[in-house]
């Protein structure tokens, strides 16, 4: 009866991001240890997650890709003590938070460092650790 569909396999291996067409340049950059985001040529707003048309204004403009400096601060965080499945257990406890990038957009990401060192507003810098599934993370500065 149970249909877990595409979610069925992650218990035995780290999940791959379900990449959308809009985000292909983002993931290509991640493989080269670079962090990209989009900006609207009409309203100048920083756009994330990636889009094919800016949703923040009525211009209907095609966003342009920019490289982020990868610097930001912790907006919120949580230390995961009970992970979603067995594959994560050896990694726990690990911290996941919302990071506000200096270009004024937010990423939901892992923040590397000791749980007791985490605090709102602390500065962080993007990192690209060598892992089975390449993902941008952040490190306390």
């Amino acid at each position: 009866m149970l249909e877990q569909g595409e979610f069925a396999n992650f218990k035995e291996s780290y999940p791959q991001p379900r990449v959308t067409q809009d985000a292909l340049p983002y993931w290509e950059a991640v493989r080269n240890k670079k962090l990209l985001f989009q900006r609207c040529p009409a309203c100048s707003g920083a756009i994330f997650p990636p889009r094919s048309i800016c949703p923040m204004c009525d211009a209907g403009a095609k966003p342009a890709w920019e490289q982020s400096k990868g610097a930001g601060s912790i907006y919120s965080f949580s230390v995961v003590h009970r992970p979603p499945s067995a594959i994560w257990k050896s990694h726990a406890p690990y911290t996941i938070g919302l990071v506000r990038l200096d270009e004024d957009y937010f990423l939901f990401a892992e923040i590397e460092g000791k749980p007791e060192d985490m605090a709102v507003d602390k500065r962080v810098q993007v990192n690209f650790p060598d892992r089975e599934v390449p993902l941008p993370t952040f490190r306390l500065v």
């Binding site: 149970l2 877990q4 991001p17 923040m56 949580s78 009970r82 992970p83 937010f106 939901f108 993902l135």
Partner: protein
Amino acid sequence: MKKPDRSLGRVAAIVGMGDAYADEQNVKDPLQLANEATWGAIRDAGIKKDDIDILLTGRAPWADRRPQWNNIFASYLQLPVRMTTELTFHGAGVNAMIGQAALAVAAGVADYVLCVQADAVQLFIDATAVGAATDACPQFEFPYGPTIPTIYAQLACRYMHEFDVTEEDFAEVAVQRQEWAVHHPKAAKRKHGLITVEDVMKSPYISSPLRRWMCAVWGPGGTAGAFIVTSVERAARAKNPIYIHGFGTCTTHEYLCERINLRKSRIPLGPLPALTTTGAAYAAKEAYEMADMQPQDMQLAALAGNFSHTVLVQLEDLGFAPKGKAMDLMRSGRMRPGGDFPVDTNGGWMGFGQPGISVAADSLVETIRQLRGNPLGLKAGNNPKVAMAYSAGGMLACHSAVILGTEKS
């Protein structure tokens, strides 16, 4: 934004309600639960199955995720209908159904609308694993290994940071939910008995700052709620009608990474970017306006507090406390057993538990049972005549509120 016609708060009533329960000793799947609740509602309404013109369900149960579950259930009932659909409002679907049913009745396209929600997560699936995989963004969140508590904890972190709320405050919320839950025969946490703030603070972190006792549990095994909505004219012939005074819904996003990057919204969410005001405020405002009532007119409320901090945020967004001040209301004792404003009288989502997406149906069942004076657990001490049932779904995403009462307005 177009406002709903206020007369919609005077057109429809719930005339039938049925509930069903399962556990490890008495295993039932969502179809069986929905069936049992539906027949209970049909009998309660005093109608025949074939009087039903429209069938609404919530999204497919987690324990039976077949697409078109509403259609599967319609054929299980051998119930050809004019119209059937799922309201995929996450868990908030059931309250939204009541609103849509009232609209159908008002438009004259249905005499009777059946609204059903069932689930049985604990009996059939690994909810911790599936939950995160369902509700986290599969591209920008889930690869980092969050659970549902991890996603909700981002709001908990901000709520503590912005309003000087502490983990001990969160513990007090759990203590008060448990005070009701211990009296409810179906509550998942009933077996643990009463708890103290110290007990909560000694429980391990699930995802900080949320400790085990600050989280809803996946249980009881399974539940269902079924509700039959008809016109106020037909309701006059029913034996125990509950009038729909107002309803309001809204949805603001799907994934948290989208919500935090939202910079403007025609649904008021306070200054953005922020997380601490949710769409609950707008859904409730619509319901109050339709009912021509104020928050202080509510004599009972059922929230959708799956974690301590969401209880507090909802009390504020629904207008029962100023922003950041819900702990003052919590400490006043008004919402405890014996208080003059009973809230979450089945123990709420934290104490009663989350059997799956039917959790909001459980809150609606509890609200109707209290208004009719026949709760399964502890009776509200103030004989409530008007109540709000609020439901949330997804990661702070979907919101629905209904105002119900025993008297025709």
